[in-house]
Amino acid sequence: MRQRLIAALGIVGLAATGLTACGDDSGSGSASGGSGEKVTIGIKYDQPGIGLKEGANYTGMDVDVAKYVAKELGYGDITFKEAPSAQRETLLANGQVKMIFASYSITDARKEKVSFAGPYLTAGQDLLVKADNTDITGPDSLNGKKLCSVTGSTSAQKVKDKFADTVQLQNYDTYSKCVEALGTGSIDALTTDNTILAGYASQEANKGKFKVVGKTFSTERYGVGLKKGDTETCTKVNDALKKMVDSGEWQKAFDKNLGASGLKLDPATNPPKTFDACA
């Protein structure tokens, strides 16, 4: 008898938690959403100035563009989800995210798996060095130096193949470890897209310690990743991006997130004036 009572209480308890869980869900949805549908968007969580998660807040250029586009598309309730580089294609293919804004360069190999809208920003590979460094002026002056990048990224490999074959490569799993090593001088330069470098250079803890060399040697066109063949969303996203640029919101978002670092993007392609055809 006693056991039955406990079991019955347990079931009631479970049901109650289930009910409250449901209640919470609908509550938060209407509180933050207002009107409009829900959408899940993939961003980076660990790149200052681009896509950064700080507590419950998301900041960065990618985040602001994503918010603008989602609003233009009629979504009222955005859920951000981390989209690490290696998982971006899978997240889109499974439908776990609707769109990806995660410093996602448009390449032919990626077009096999996903569709791209945009580009919404054109970055380029660059170098980050200590603020007092004068002998590294570009990729050609890296011979005999120590260069850092992230395992799996193609940027460091490109330097070695094209510019300086006696450069030594240090790979870490995150850029912040490269920044740490650059600070103590155990490496000489860090290479990746200038947007990401500018984000690190302008972080509170690193202010004044590093500088971006400012001689880009590649073109990285950041696109909005979409499920393969989703031309309908692609067209809408391009329209929204065009509106964002025309209304001056794009420039505002750029100044807010990356302006302080003194980053100079190529004015011929930024802000974007033309967008790739959706296919």
């Binding site: 290696a86 990626r110 395992t151 030594q168 790979n171 870490y172 470890k177 090593a181």
Partner: protein, 229 residues
Amino acid sequence: MDVISEFFSEYDGLQAFRTTIYLTLLSALLALVIGTVVAVMRVSPIRVLQLIGTAYVNIIRNTPLTLVIVFCNLGLFVQLGLALANKDSHTFINDNNFRLAVLGLSVYHASFVAEAIRSGVNTVPLGQAEAARAIGLPFLKTLRYVVLPQAFRGAIAPLGNVLIALTKNSTVASVIGVTEASAVMKVMMENRPDVIFVVFGIFALGFVILTLPVGVLFTSLSKRLAVKR
């Protein structure tokens, strides 16, 4: 299936797996040495040594391996300047990272090796040690000639498990830039997202090829070499 030929030609996947094997074997040897010393400390009659051995096992075993490896690079090398290779060499970064990874992997796995050997020591009946003492052998000689030879034969199966875990854990070395198998897998995934599951499959198969025979070998060894009592 051109991605499979790319694995061999463009990305030199075999070289990556060779690095994994070197990393595993060197770390295994060093871990065996450190682990044996720690196990001996734990079973020694000297209280201080017992405490040091216990502390080593409990602290290291409960620290995440990624933390140990990252500390070896960012802590020991970047902050404290401890370099394990010639700083002027053209391959300094690669050599230094490889050695730091071996250091981290062996220090970490030594705690598991020590526990495996200690469990082996517990399989040796007390009468063996008492007999050794009775004929006048001091502690170290009792260990060297009577207890440890039997302990190792009893510890072969758990030591095999540690070796298999070490093989797979060596992938953590990629966080400090050692170009072993998982690092090359990340490069291939970045460049060929269209065939991501094939890439993943190739590397998963590679690790199965490495670890399965080890498991079979150690199981058969543990049966053949077990002390018949």
